[in-house]
Chain length 445, copies 2
Amino acid sequence: MNVDVVIVGAGLAGLACARAVVKAGASCVVVEARDRVGGRTLSRAIGAGTFDLGAQWIGPTQDRMEALTRELGVATFPTFHEGRKVLDLDGKISTYAGTIPSLSLPRLLELQRVLSKVERMSAAIDLDAPERSKRAETYDAETLEGFKRRSIHSRAVRELLDAAVRVVFGAEPCDLSMLHFLFYLRSGGGLMRLIEIEKGAQERRFVGGAQQVSIRMAAALGDRVRTSAPVRRIDQDASGVTVRGDGFEVRAKRCVVAVPPALAGRIEYSPALPAPRDQLTQRMPMGATVKCIALYERPFWRARGLSGEGVANRGPASVVFDNTTHDAAQASLLAFVVGGPAKTWSTRSEADRKSAILAQLARMFGDEALSPTDYVEHDWSTEIWTRGCPVGLMPTGVLTQFAPALRAPCGRIHWAGTETATKWHGFMEGALESGERAAREALRA
Amino acid sequence: MNVDVVIVGAGLAGLACARAVVKAGASCVVVEARDRVGGRTLSRAIGAGTFDLGAQWIGPTQDRMEALTRELGVATFPTFHEGRKVLDLDGKISTYAGTIPSLSLPRLLELQRVLSKVERMSAAIDLDAPERSKRAETYDAETLEGFKRRSIHSRAVRELLDAAVRVVFGAEPCDLSMLHFLFYLRSGGGLMRLIEIEKGAQERRFVGGAQQVSIRMAAALGDRVRTSAPVRRIDQDASGVTVRGDGFEVRAKRCVVAVPPALAGRIEYSPALPAPRDQLTQRMPMGATVKCIALYERPFWRARGLSGEGVANRGPASVVFDNTTHDAAQASLLAFVVGGPAKTWSTRSEADRKSAILAQLARMFGDEALSPTDYVEHDWSTEIWTRGCPVGLMPTGVLTQFAPALRAPCGRIHWAGTETATKWHGFMEGALESGERAAREALRA
């Protein structure tokens, strides 16, 4: 096979890249290791609905994703959020309205103070080159955990921040460089936007599941998309690039690698990539996320005036959402086991996890939670073509020392994937941005 | 091929493991990706001597290495260290005797204070389970850079610590979890032992180079060692394990993977490894080390009363040693470009690096340094079967969350390599410990 651009990975980034290449009149092929497209989106029919085992929300300012879903005819609907939310603090349940949990006044004040401090700090981050932001070296020498210990004294407030960080990053505050954390917040428009439903990143869901966006893009690309084709090796020479995998070979003028750095580093390159690029791929581990979906006969929590949204400091789940289908045909709750608890619980049996999750849901929303009509879970850390979710993390020192290697082309190879995005880095929106940017680079060259 | 134990990697760990397996009367084969044995040791004839492009020293309490070299008939000799040492601070040169550089009295006091504080802290670390040490979570949430900024106020003292950390870890203080740093110090017997020649880790060198130890072990193992055999895939089933690579296949009862975690993670496993093990391999990046060896007609620095040892806060080299052969037949200086400077300089041309290194050596030791008879350098970050040196690093959060996955067998697979050692972790000594421990595990099973 001989094309202008060969694209590795048929997630949103790779497919968006292929669309842009085709639109410009150039030829391309997308090779994908899995037997399906969509990367970190994965929708499955369960009970009387289709549910997302991967990414599932779209929110304001995610303009590329908005336009694309509209163009492809994928409908969205508001995430259910009427009623009171549940706070599970050390197993003690309380409910609250609005954004801020039901804490004592001193705790509330501390939470508000630290939230505005973090928003202020993140507002100063340069999205195109976070490593050149003011105080970048100081922030990149410290973990979010260190900042938290210095800035927050209430245990409850600390642990609420932990829960938010777990669900956003699939990680613990000790895993994250403060600079990466601030960059990520800025990239998505602030911490509150990242964790909120209303006007936030969880605002709307996709009728029929988020994977449809990729499936429809792939359908339009036709036989340019090849699944079950894991790439093992990329060779560059003076006239082009050769991508080789199990039983196939593609020759092209340019190559776009649209997989997370942790996976890109497992491909063999000849000539070998420059040291900073290889070292970067060793330094962006994927977060740990297990999504647990429980189906019910009816959304019993709604009848009790609860929105289905909940947050907990103890495991297994850190955050819970109402996950009922748009047409209310299938009631469901979605529990996130993320970060530290994902590590602890991933080695237990599914039966253990299930009973612990259901017990927690019962504590939070009522005993009916103990009797689901179905229960499905998905541990992204065990998917070898992703190795964790939602995103590649940056420990301390990575942004200040290696940031340029994230996007800098290596000869004929260009880098895409949401980890290379500047806006909505880590989200589906960022994946689209990265694919389009890589396509521009490859076409220009 | 059908054996009791198949070992992946013919570095010191893999070869020590094979020796132990054979000694116990079991059969084994060692498969090695490179066309040579020795891993991170590599000795090459240059000028009138043989020089180490990789690990090269042995010091007190490295008992396994001591016994093994004696058994194999590899001689050692003291590292030259007579005369004054050179301190290159912002390009300003001074000389000093003894251990501590020529600093002003307040700086000296601060240096002494922080050194004893660090030694005190590291003495409390549990080598078998550093994650269970007192204050482990606090240490693992902080970088060495954060500790440095809090504990040291003099810029000169800070930058001397940077130089020491660069040469020991191939990393910057912001790359390292404080817990990993303290564990590493404790594992080698303290910071001063790690950085010193006399009574330290640089005490003696190998006549003919350190790689000989591996070469002689491999010779004794005969055709049990197969080079140019990169392993791509390891399959486990109820009765055994199958290791597959380019054009070969080995069947065994047990498998020992004796390569750094960053490389072990690039092998495909079936069934997939448990999530914590895979996540660990994403979280232990290799340090960055470029060794630069300049040969001279004579050891001109000795005539000036200098030992050839030097330390610098600015690049390219952070630390310099006399590298003359045991018989004085070939005079040489060895310069380490490590950590941050290795990243900066690795993308420059070899000519640029060479002239910058020689200019620095001239500044430190005299203008004769500008006229070497030969100059050789080795950037371990560009070696695809190592991807960095000297060792796999642990960013914050890794030890407290993933330490058990370092050594815990996964079914029939056991893990060796110096990154799994408890004593002299990161050194040749640790590699031997790890290989012998993995052999015991595999033989017992």
